[in-house]
Amino acid sequence: MLAKRIIPCLDIRNGQTVKGVNFIDIKEVGDPVELGAKYAREGADELVYLDITASHEERKLFTMLVKRIAQHLNIPFTVGGGINELSDADSLLSAGADKISINSSAVLNPDFITDLATRFGSQFVVCAVDAKLESDGKWWVYINGGRKKMDKELFSWVKEAQERGAGEILFTSMNHDGTKNGFANDPLAKIADIISIPVIASGGAGKKDHFVDVFTKGKADAALAASIFHFNEIPIPELKSYLRENKITIR
């Protein structure tokens, strides 16, 4: 049976792994290649590397890093951050990335999803969406790392992203991210119901039970987390045996 996936996420700045708390403070947590290889050995099913730097020079560093990751890692990995043009995607593919994740650039220019899917195939395109539940009871899409609210509602946007050729949706609830109080299971389940591509849940992992919940109540295909893995609060082997005990299909 197809297994649910556990995906550690590594934020990269200046070639180092960092983890932001609520999209602000930054702490360094180690070499991205070593950390990724360690997660792969421990049973991570995939990895996501997000480049959180902006400048042109640092982008070249990131592409070189992607090549090193591809050389060392024997599981699939996604890279994202600042991918605005087909040529950005092309150079990451050539460096050995299995998938790319796009976020703001897709919201600002939805045709970008279509172009990427046509050129590289849907399996290469992960559409990441940051959204926040507001006092009007609706989930609104944000861009630029959660700094700018857009006039786009979450559910219609993920549906559009699928129709345009996204191969997966990576949904981060800004209300849950950094809280360690559990994933946003209600909107996740709703997304899973309205689209037919895999959904990766992100934001809110704090306890092993949260992963059981996100795969059952949240109907997610994969769950992504960062700090609980980086700081070894929940070792991956321990998480996977706990999920197995709870009848979740896990590799």
């Binding site: 996936r5 099913d45 050389q71 599981i75 295909d221 590799r251």
Partner: protein, 194 residues
């Protein structure tokens, strides 16, 4: 040991080369006919669309070349599908090494079939020394039907050929280069035992 990786308009060929390097083998990414004919092993990787890729291969005579090879050949993912008789993706005739049709999944579950799934009914040298029901990594929306050439099967929506083998031709629908230690062993079996 000379290993050729067929170069064509496909995505992420590098990852196969990197995986071989981790096994301790150098390889060459090439579309040069004499280099390919004189290699000890040939790998036909692939991510892409069937009909456009078949056009590309035909224009360069690579389809005929692949069929004529006598050394062990390993097709991966789209490589497996293009070694079959016909694909519903772009309704194209394929190379025809395996007399098996490639069909589109009926979308009763998420398509593409993406992630780690188990291999069943494994037979042949690719799967030597593997533990039962090993997990390997799949990404695909089309599948090769079960046939007498099926060397391993997998269940998703319906049961399909996760691996095919006939004479010197081997193929996997999954990506051994991305399938952790299990994939490492499968590639090693192909290089060292075929």
């Amino acid at each position: 040991m000379k290993i050729a990786i067929l170069k064509y308009n496909a995505g992420n060929i590098m990852s196969v080369q990197f995986a071989l390097k981790r096994l301790g083998y150098n390889s060459e990414v090439t579309d040069n006919e004499s280099i390919i004919r004189n290699s000890d092993r040939v790998i036909f990787p692939g991510v892409g669309e069937a009909a456009t890729t078949m056009d590309y291969l035909r224009q360069r005579g690579l389809d005929k070349l692949l069929k004529e090879l006598n050394q062990p050949v390993l097709g991966i993912c789209l490589g497996l599908q293009l070694m079959c008789s016909h694909s519903e993706e772009g309704n194209t005739n394929c190379i025809g090494i395996f007399d098996v049709p490639v069909l589109k999944f009926l979308p009763s579950l998420n398509v593409p079939h993406m992630g780690w799934n188990t291999l069943e009914n494994m037979k042949g040298i690719l799967f030597e020394k593997l533990t039962p029901l090993p997990y390997v990594y799949f990404v695909h929306s089309y599948y090769a039907a079960l046939s007498e050439n099926t060397a391993a099967s997998c269940k998703y929506i319906n049961e399909f050929s996760a691996s095919l083998q006939k004479d010197n031709f081997f193929a996997t629908q999954f990506h051994p280069e991305k399938s952790g230690d299990t994939g490492h062993l499968i590639l090693q079996n192909f290089i060292e035992k075929s």
